[in-house]
Assembly symmetry: D2
Homo-oligomer: 262 residues x 4
């Protein structure tokens, strides 16, 4: 990233920022005008400028061409499915030790929000194998990964993982499907000894069933967390939290594979 | 990680797990016995076994030799200072896009919890330059990084960053000192255009001052979040959240460097 | 309440309930039809029926005529001002020991949500003296109290309390104005020895100033709380918290009047 | 309360306050010395003084004789059982419209924390009928109610409510037992039409079963809430939330009795 990547080129991803509520993730295309309520911007004008530069709209409003982060890539993933939020994904990356070179198994690609974050964490030498049974989601995820220039680090299997998982020795697994239980024996087999995994569950009943399945299926250190995030509107002399917050996305049940003594 | 790293060797880090409340991060040393209330374990017995293996104590109790994750490395960092928690650090990694190759500036090493996580995220090709004015903390952090085999990815500057920062073009910055304001101009200069940064503040007053300093000091997209985590005790038929939770660690104020038009 | 009050009469308040998202607080008027997307109801049909009865709309949909609670009275108070929520008010009633016979001072009536709850708590022998400088809010509050049949337990002073407070020996005080500091000496004088009070503050800066003003102005036991509430969508086999929640209404700073030794 | 009650007498309840962490609920007894790490106090010295007065210990430390609130009575209830917290009870009082004159049914007295709060809310003309099957808890609750001078407003039934409930036309019901389901038909019969009730459940599984039992047992408006409270340490220039907070006490499932059409 450093050295290169700080200057905007044709095809670069840019976070076009007006203010906290108005910002867009865009791919630079010299032939495109981007229209907002604050006027339009010729995206070609960004080419050659360093990230962090100012650009003015046709209505002389100031926008900033910021560098997108993993957080932006996740939040701007097309949301046809409920997605895990950065608050959840960040914790998962630490608890699963996703790092350059990790070989990760994902069950339930959805629109690819977690896949994008995992690919960012493991590139350039790691790889994500992700399973998605529904063709339309596999395609959405592929587009999202391509847009984020991460497709080379991911293999999307448009298949039902309950029929079996290719490969073995995975360093970690992420599960985000409604009924993971029939797949758990396959996942156990595919993981390396001691490897961590997580299952994301919108309902508490899924948490109970997953906890049981992990505990009985050859995993230890089984525990569940939920994560909340609240925005603080800091403004000297009148600082207060935001009125509304997300109260729930899902529960995360973590565990680690153990080897049964024979 | 995959392929290698799944078998325990002399010098390997192991998470020795008895149950959720009793687990220890250990370095394997064939000459060492590890004593617990459930009996002692000869650490040499672990050598050659795959991670995930069972080991019995002198009292015939079952322990598991799990693979430590980034989360474990953070939580077992010697706590002479208040540390950021994984809930905070995970979000920071996503919002700062810390990934293999990133060149990161850290102000306020403390005992190195964030440094460990950042080094895990940027290795093997990235690097962390971290400043710590207090000699004893610089030493603690060095020990923690060494234990986690991450010291090669980190340069610890035992210096006050308000006197100036070496280098430029940093991809991201993490600030964890009580009074970052005099250092902010140096940080701005050291960052690449558009680069994200975060300042961690235990008090709301620090948040206000940091927000002002960022807004006036050449940063955009300034916003503050706080993160909560709650443990769910899942047990079929009697599932409930844990009675106590951490109510506060600190606030995270994020921003991105902008280039003032001259 | 018991014995009487369980049968609906002309002029009774009714909570007309269709489902959790569609319920209305109504006063029964035999000449009125109430229109909903599920058909209309002749309110006169409710007269003489016990609370808890079923009533069918013109489209043969089932509605329930429930008895309104204090919670409903608060939540259906006209919201021209930001109001305290039941989560806050409930705690205030306990921490201020508002009970039958209490004589309560309120600074900042707003639309009367807190006033309604306080009047419910102290009736029939207690009384609320509430100050509201803005004429239009004093009128809104009067209408809300009248609708709730609580006006006889309340005196609304359309006056600025910083000019002075009538009466003395109040058992408790509730403050809900943006800048209570000039009024605090008057409030101290008006309260009985040892009496509890609360100040409601949307911003953390108001909390700081109020804490200082209380501590220096003759109060002890000064402490601040914030309260969160989350809805759980219980549905056997697919139970989960609601996606959105209110993240902030305001902070409550509590204290008790002390008598300076002379 | 006002007029009388502001001067301390033999037998009065006093909240003896040193600081936020050191305060005690005491009954004044002229023959008693109360010992603390800050010296002892002759309780007889308080007699005749107004609430809010200062009293000095044998070590010349300043204590304050504050007036106890409902909150203090709840929190100082002997905790042999898990109790509902004021955050929960305050909301219950509003959602059940507990007010002077209410006739309340309680199933599961425990040590009487909720009973104390309910009696405070309904006195002097209302009454609480509370059922507690375990003799030792019925006795603890009786002592707690007596200490709070509330016993005359409460009838403690040392009996199992599943065998039947005396009386009818109750205005509201509070349920705090682990397995309320067999009792629910009795409770339905005992309540007035439209009357609100709540069941307090430590586990989510109890919530599911209670929701089903309410929905199928003649109740409408069935919904569940959980409440959190967080302390803010306000101190000008270094204000922050408390590090630890209570993450869970229990869930509250509310409903209202409906009359099935025959």
């Amino acid at each position: 990233m450093s050295g290169n990547g700080t200057s905007i080129a044709e095809g670069s991803l840019v976070l076009l920022h007006f203010d906290l509520r108005r910002q867009w993730l865009l791919r630079v295309d010299r032939s495109r005008q981007f229209h907002t309520h604050k006027g339009y911007i010729n995206l070609g004008d960004l080419i050659g400028k360093p990230y962090g530069s100012q650009v003015k709209s046709s209505l002389d409003q100031i926008f900033w061409a910021l560098k997108p982060t993993t957080h932006d890539l996740i939040m701007h993933t097309a949301r046809r499915t409920q997605i895990m939020y950065p608050k959840d994904i960040g914790l998962i990356i630490l608890k699963l030790a996703l790092t350059a070179g990790s070989k990760v198994l994902e069950i339930g690609t959805g629109s690819g929000a977690m896949t994008v974050a995992a690919a960012m964490a493991v590139k350039p030498t790691g790889h994500i194998h992700t399973y998605e049974a529904r063709k339309e989601f596999a395609e959405i995820a592929e587009r999202n990964l391509k847009r984020a220039s991460l497709l080379e680090f991911v293999t999307i299997h448009n298949a039902d993982a309950s029929a079996g998982i290719d490969g073995a020795g995975f360093d970690a697994a992420v599960i985000d499907v409604g009924d993971p239980w029939p797949i758990i024996p396959h996942i156990h087999k595919a993981l390396a000894g001691g490897a961590p995994l997580v299952s994301f569950s919108p309902t508490i009943n899924q948490v109970e069933k997953t906890t049981e399945a992990f505990t009985q299926g050859g995993f230890a250190n089984v525990h569940t967390l939920e994560c909340f995030i609240r925005e603080i509107r800091a403004d000297t002399g009148k600082t207060r939290p935001a009125t509304m917050m997300v109260g729930h996305t899902g529960y995360m049940t973590f565990a680690q594979k153990i080897l049964r003594s024979e």
